[in-house]
């Protein structure tokens, strides 16, 4: 991974070379379809048809799978517990002591988990194959204000920097005798000495970065020069339009499904 470009994974593939907006639109359309098409398994189908093959071609599939699982598992567990065990009414599938697992709650949790997995994997696919500065430039060229570009860009860049800083802080505190291994109680006690320097350091870091930007004319009004050149093609533009038309068709169809019974 590259610390300079957020989560970007350097690979020489056709997916990496695509215009950032093409990938952004593709991922957003996948998410939209997965969320809007009815059915418990629709997010998973979109994931298998839309995200997995592209991640495979881009040679980032292992990274996408690993980090999607890491992110989605806590959500999945909490959804299954909350919706599966505390669903009001519904068909009881299994009795677990004082609790009963409901089929409707379970299906809701499966669908919810699928949506989260789809959103996380789509976001990761986009970020693993797209340099964040190129994505922001592409959005700026479409009229996004520079300040918003910077906020998004710095948020993406801050993740690896945060990880490195957290590791250094962990090393520094353990070297002063702070025990971080062992029971949950020990780990909880170690949390404050790790979080406080991370937060304070980050505030100082943000302030220094803001000053560094200001002294280099960041807030100057007027056009700015970009050293990056984004390559776009007529074919990609056509694909983007087709994807957006497809998304609009899905939205229209979904709206019709919602409206039709009310008009009947």
């Amino acid at each position: 991974m590259s610390g300079t470009y957020g989560l970007y994974v350097v690979r020489q593939t056709g997916i990496h070379r695509l215009h950032p907006l093409t990938k952004l639109v593709y991922v957003l359309v996948c998410l939209l379809i997965g969320w809007l098409i009815p059915g418990v398994w629709s997010p998973y189908i979109v994931l298998l048809i839309g995200v997995v093959p592209v991640a495979l071609i881009a040679r980032v599939l292992p990274e996408v799978i690993k980090n999607t699982i890491k992110t989605a598992i806590p959500f999945a567990i909490s959804l299954i517990i909350v919706q599966g065990l505390f669903w009001t009414g519904g068909t009881i599938v299994r009795q677990l002591g004082p609790f009963s697992l409901k089929a409707e709650g379970l299906l809701f949790a499966i669908r919810g988990t699928g949506r989260i997995i789809l959103a996380v994997s789509g976001f990761l696919l986009l970020n693993y194959t797209t340099r964040s500065d190129e994505l922001m430039l592409a959005l700026s060229q479409k009229g996004l204000p520079n300040s918003i570009s910077y906020v998004v860009l710095s948020t993406l860049q801050v993740i690896p920097r945060f990880q490195r800083k957290a590791n250094t802080i962990l090393d520094a505190q353990r070297s002063r005798g702070l025990e971080t291994e062992g029971s949950y109680l020990i780990r909880m006690r170690a949390l404050m000495p790790l979080v406080v320097p991370l937060l304070l350091g980050s505030i100082v870091d943000i302030e220094e970065r803001a000053i560094a930007l200001e002294v280099r004319a960041f807030s100057r009004e007027g056009a700015k020069t970009s050293l990056l050149v984004l390559h776009d093609t007529r074919f990609q533009r056509a694909i983007r339009w087709l994807l957006m038309l497809g998304a609009m068709a899905v939205i229209g169809w979904r709206f019709y499904l919602w409206l039709a019974p009310r008009l009947a």
Partner: protein, 270 residues
Amino acid sequence: MNLSVENISFTYPGGAEALRGVTLDIASGEAVAIVGENGAGKTTLVKHLNGLLKPTRGRVIVGEWDTREHTVAKMAARVGFVFQNPDDQIIERTVGDEVAFGPRQLGQSAPDALANATAALEMVELAAESGTHPYDLTAPQRKLMTLASVLAMRTPVVIFDEPTMGQDARGVALIGNIIETLKSEDRTVIIITHDIDFCADHFERVVAMADGRVLADGPAADVLAQADLLATTNVEPPQLIRLAQALGLPGAPLSTDGFIASLRRRDGTR
């Protein structure tokens, strides 16, 4: 406390091989400087001495303890480590409390922790700032506070990572005095530095590293006089040695007195 680094190698998870078969024996009370260009493996090596990193091959023994078998927090009672950036550890609201953090973690009694913190603050000349918020100190002062927070732990081994970086001449002299004090207390002092003149002034033994290996290890005068060897790891000999070599003087003087003695030896005067 003796340290023994036995043929260790270390590869980072990303695959970068940072150490390749390093062997070092450091006796109790020795003062050792580790020099070398960035990426030579200096920091990776010293992180093995308190167990922050565990060797991929080989082992590190710190006074009978194998670092692989103990947590870093436990090793901290034996090996103190002063990190480069003070802001990576500040947790308390006052300088005094911050310096007492390490002793408290080690389970020292409250009076001992307080006494050790006070003594350490006096050593770094920050006793008057005991009640100040750490972030109200200047950056060089915060670095000295970090140093004090490790000195207060009273460990038999103290490791410094670039302690003179960002310090003015007065700060460098103060750190030099602290190192001399630690040496006089028979504590083992290990330093990573790019400040070769500081290294020549205070360290009797120098280890030069390059590409994850020990390039040279021996008395400071011997190692620091090898200009060609040091050049391979982008280190220049100290100014006095370079001047002596330019003048064709015998030996490798590390001090002004040594330089004058070399000058007299060449001229045949006493």
